[in-house]
């Protein structure tokens, strides 16, 4: 039975696309069949973060409108053959995403894959509500920062009212993924702590992704961070989060950079 996951946040720039790619790749590497679907019509980026930007021929809208078959639009990852991408359209308008068309494509994806991971656009408009519509699980990506927490709260409200599950009177499973976390700054009292964000949003924690240069490095190279360097701190955090999604119980931690010692500490301080 396929699970449909939406990666959402309300606010832009908090790491939805990075997290979609990283979680998708981590789940795929554990042998499960995964498709990551870009719902950000007009501003697609999942293809770029996944390093598949030059392989896009057909997109989600082509499939929704029946101009292409699903198999033609799916792009299989070259590094991990259980991972596929369904890109968004860069040129069309989001109004081309009809509710019925999206529902049909989601049904088809459910049959082919173990995991369907929908990368939501920012905001609370049509694209975002369509991305969450068919999900049974939501990953709410949040930075430890006031505007991001506020927007996440709003998105949680939408997940509880605008999804198919909610309309049927059932509850959608929601998880918090805290990204760009800096344990040192939180300890100093200059950043909201994990416990603060959890208390305010009151949804269970899926993982804590540390602020790290490795995330940018991976996107520069067009690789999900879990594939580009599986031993880096953010990759380990994402791999743990993916295992928790699969039902494993793993103690929560904030993985730290390998380069410890005085140099690492000094550098870390200065960067903070």
């Amino acid at each position: 039975m396929a699970r449909v996951l939406v990666v959402t946040s309300g606010k832009g720039g908090v790491g939805k696309t990075t997290s979609t790619a990283a979680l998708g790749a981590a789940l795929a590497q554990s042998g499960q069949n995964v498709v990551v679907v870009d719902f950000d019509v007009g501003l697609r980026n999942l293809d770029l973060v996944m390093g598949a930007e030059r392989r896009v021929v057909y997109d989600l809208i082509n499939v929704v409108q029946g101009d292409a078959k699903l198999a033609q639009a799916l792009i299989r990852d070259k590094r991990c053959d259980t991972l596929s991408l369904l890109p968004a359209s860069q040129t069309r308008d989001k109004d081309n995403l009809t509710a019925e068309g999206v529902a049909r494509v989601m049904d088809e994806l459910r049959e082919r894959f173990d995991w369907v991971i929908c990368d939501s656009p920012a905001g609370i408009e049509r694209g975002a509500t369509l991305a969450m519509r068919h999900a049974d699980t939501a990953v709410v990506v949040t930075n430890p920062e006031v505007s991001s927490v506020r927007d996440s709260d709003r998105i949680i409200g939408l997940l509880d009212s605008k999804t198919e599950l909610a309309e049927r009177g059932e509850r959608i499973e929601k998880h918090l993924l805290l990204t760009r976390y800096d344990a040192l700054r939180a300890e100093r009292g200059d950043m909201l702590k994990v416990e603060d964000v959890l208390e305010i949003l009151s949804i269970p924690l899926l993982g804590i992704i540390p602020e790290s240069a490795d995330v940018l490095k991976a996107s520069n190279l067009g690789a999900p961070v879990t594939l580009s360097d599986a031993t880096s701190a953010p990759a380990r955090a994402y791999i743990d989060a993916a295992r928790r999604l699969s039902g494993e119980t793993i103690p929560m931690s904030v993985p730290s950079e390998r380069k410890g010692g005085l140099f690492g500490k000094l550098f870390g301080r200065r960067a903070a």
Partner: protein, 93 residues
Amino acid sequence: MNLLGFFQRRPPSSAPAARERLQVLLAHERATIGQSDLVATLREEILAVIAKHVSIDREKVKVTMDKRDQISMLEVDIELPGLALSKEAAPAH
């Protein structure tokens, strides 16, 4: 603040302020989102009930909801025109 902090004379930390501001703001926002529909519905139905018996000016009916921590208050403020409390106002609607 620890000894190190004392010597560094750091300004007071900002995270507690963020946390408090968010808690206040979200308590308010959670209460108001979805509530606007409720207030509009209540207003229409209250208007309909009153209009059965009294002729009133729609603009002179105010329905507001005030949500606090412990209790919520629904406030209905209806201004009746001085002479409207007569029986013949009823059949008009």
